[in-house]
């Protein structure tokens, strides 16, 4: 067993790169920011960056690797082609497949984007006494496709994906205040209560992740989610792109505090 709770990100990435860790990264290297990955051919990268600029809550860019660059500025000695435990390759008309390395697929025109991930604000919420139910239940967070339109950019358009966390009424304001201090990891909620108003028919049937039961004294609180870019890129007919597989994140050298204000 690897002691990932006490491992520096650089050492953990090396283990992933060698194939010694293939599981999700929740709980790994606590205190360090984990990131969503989107890799695009250069021909689609400018549109994506403009999309991210217009939709910063759903797509908070925390690091960019120029075309052909494999080491992330935010992660010493890293290799974006193998330091994530599981990748998703999307090809138009073929859906997606998962692989543990993209070294054989790598092209010099690939631009890589790292996006802030909710793990950062979740750890802060827990620290300040707001329980994260999906974590306590050992589940993946519930995610839903909404009807909230993102601002389009170039060829890219689509609706926002949100993550939902049940929060007790007396703690909602505090959860908003805390997450608002982390704009680079989705920031404050986009919607509180009333799932129908944003096109969610049933909380029991999330589009991604797992259902998390709600209690009477809880309200569903919705945050913009890093799955949005995957949904938008598919929706917009981009031929080919690569992301991390859900839950299998890139562990950066950035401390969570550095993303707060």
């Amino acid at each position: 067993m690897m002691d990932v709770k006490n491992m520096h990100p650089e050492k953990f990435r090396k283990a992933v790169g060698k194939g010694s860790w293939t599981k999700p990264t929740a709980g790994v290297a606590p205190g360090y920011a984990q990131a969503n990955l989107v890799i695009l051919p250069k021909s689609a990268a400018l549109d994506f960056m403009i999309f991210a600029q217009r939709n910063p809550k759903a797509c908070p860019v925390i690091d960019v690797l120029e075309a052909g660059v494999t080491q992330a500025p935010s992660a010493k000695g890293s290799d974006i082609r193998r330091d994530i435990p599981r990748y998703r390759i999307y090809e138009k008309g073929k859906g997606h497949r998962e692989v543990s390395s993209i070294e054989e697929l790598w092209r010099e025109d690939f631009v890589s984007f790292l996006l802030g991930c909710s793990f950062t604000f979740e750890s802060e919420l827990i620290k300040q006494g707001i329980p994260m139910k999906h974590i306590d239940l050992g589940k993946n967070v519930s995610m839903y496709q909404t009807n909230i339109p993102c601002k389009p950019a170039g060829r890219l358009s689509g609706d926002m994906v949100v993550s939902m966390r049940p929060i007790k009424s007396h703690q909602i304001a505090k959860a908003v205040e805390i997450s608002a201090r982390y704009p680079e990891v989705h920031g404050s909620p986009i919607h509180i209560g009333n799932p129908e108003a944003i096109g969610i028919k049933s909380l029991n049937h999330p589009d991604y992740g797992e259902a998390v039961p709600m209690e009477e004294d809880e309200i569903p609180v919705f945050w913009p989610c890093g799955v949005t870019p995957q949904s938008v890129l598919m929706n917009s007919g981009v031929d080919f792109f690569i992301t991390h597989a859900p839950g299998h994140m890139f562990v950066t050298d950035i401390k969570n505090e550095e993303l707060g204000r």
Copy 2:
């Protein structure tokens, strides 16, 4: 005389577009954010956007117009080719020239970036009792080339340009707190006191703008400046780009408060 103090941005832009206003824009449409302009051929735009992502204090992107687009999302009915009173055209090896419209130069591969401008935090500082000496003296702000390296991106690299405002010692902390609330218009200062430490030989000889005299009880306070991209683009050998002429800004429909937090 046009009553620009009580004019909505849309009406002011129309006047500029028709050639009825050719002067600097300080004091125009108070309460609305003015922006720096950078127009680049698409071939250089991704590098510039990555540069801005890595250097957000010097290059805070508040709006982007995709290649060939002439209406800014942040400015209803606008035309980026003529709604700025004065443009600067930079050509490699030729320095720059100034024009009042770029309609005849326009190309479908031009991508336009609007960057937040210090006018927004200056108006907030004045409102809260911190005088802006250059404004009281009717001068342009003092700007200096420093030796603070920006983080490079692709082919772009260079040192930061800063603006300097003399602030009385007892008001410096307040000036930091207020400007920190406006990250999209350069945010908090990058350096306080000790000009030599950032490569400034003489405050009396600014590289851009005008000298502003310092009193005994004042300290020079330095903010990242929107002239940085012009300096970096020239330094990096980009063949061709267009900016606003200093002080002749693009007036957006964004209210200053919208850029605050």
